[in-house]
Amino acid sequence: MTSTTAILREIAARLLSSGAVEMVIGFRQGTIPMMNEPCFVRKPDEVGHLVWDSHCGINLANYLTDRKEKIGIVAKGCDSRNVVTHILENKIRREQLVVIGVPCRGMADKRKIAMKCPGEILRVSETATAITAEGEGFSRTFEKADVLQHNCSLCIHRNPVIYDELAGDLVEEQQGVDRYADVRAVEEMTPERRWKYFEDLLAPCIRCYACRNACPLCYCPTCFVDESRPQWVGKGQDPIDVRTFHFLRAYHCAGRCTDCGACERACPVGINMRLFTKKLEKDCRELFDWEAGLSLEARPALDQYRPNDPNDFIR
């Protein structure tokens, strides 16, 4: 049991016993290696289910949408930024929440680890800096930094941006991270290359919508792809329809996405759709000096007009 787990349980038990919250949303131990399951705990004697390790990559802000209870929510850096965004967008009220911040050192990329192992991984354990994966006839230990989710390795907001409780000491934020090397590489392509690049990127998509549904931003009652009057997008596997889904969804996340990586993590066929959202994130940062979910006071980039907003593209 990690010390974070112990602290989380202690906080959850206290909040539930005192009646400060009706439920605590966190993670419980998964049934397969490198997977934990989002769960809720309503009674102090159930807090033993809560765990924390490097496999809590799902963004828990997703579970707050339109809930009515008083909730204690376990939040790493990115979750907390989406909690902020949820509050700004009136999907939950600040007064309903007790944010249990977890300073985060990044989540493990289960695919990366699986690729580095010679067989099926049956057991995984970890220390503060290393992850060990074992299977039949092998055992491999990795530096955590080498097997982080891509978004985590580039993360510059590991500490929760708002919190009422803190499960552990704040961590040092990563400095000098080049967040957008992959986006620049795509920007530098010719239009032809780029068109082909995205075609290959999206070819495996089965339109299960795991990316959309894992995303805390995607809470529309009816998504534009599901709309039938008018029907904006075809429902089949046509590559243009698939592409339309992905890039329009990304646009809907412009100025809101925190690059939590839930979409990429959820994808059953391994598509890095973060390339789309990151491009918009980069533009928001460069053009509007905006990073999503850092403050409850600031209005999002797409929500306010400033006379000095860049407008060179208008002739």
Binding site: P191, E192, R194, W195, G234, D238, I240, R243, F313, I314
Partner: protein, 50 residues
């Protein structure tokens, strides 16, 4: 996305600026025509799908 840059134009024209509208519309038309027919985001006829 892979759409050629010259296909997308933004302009701000007041309803009083008729000459600007003509100029911009002409420029846009010429710019797009110079690029040739669009090949992106075009779905094949359904006869081929079936």
């Amino acid at each position: 996305m892979g759409i050629e840059p010259g296909r997308l134009h933004f302009s701000w024209i007041s309803s009083a600026e008729s000459t600007k509208f003509v100029t911009v519309a002409t420029q846009v038309t010429e710019a797009v025509r110079a690029l040739g027919p669009n090949t992106r985001f075009i779905q094949p006829p359904l006869a081929e799908v079936a």
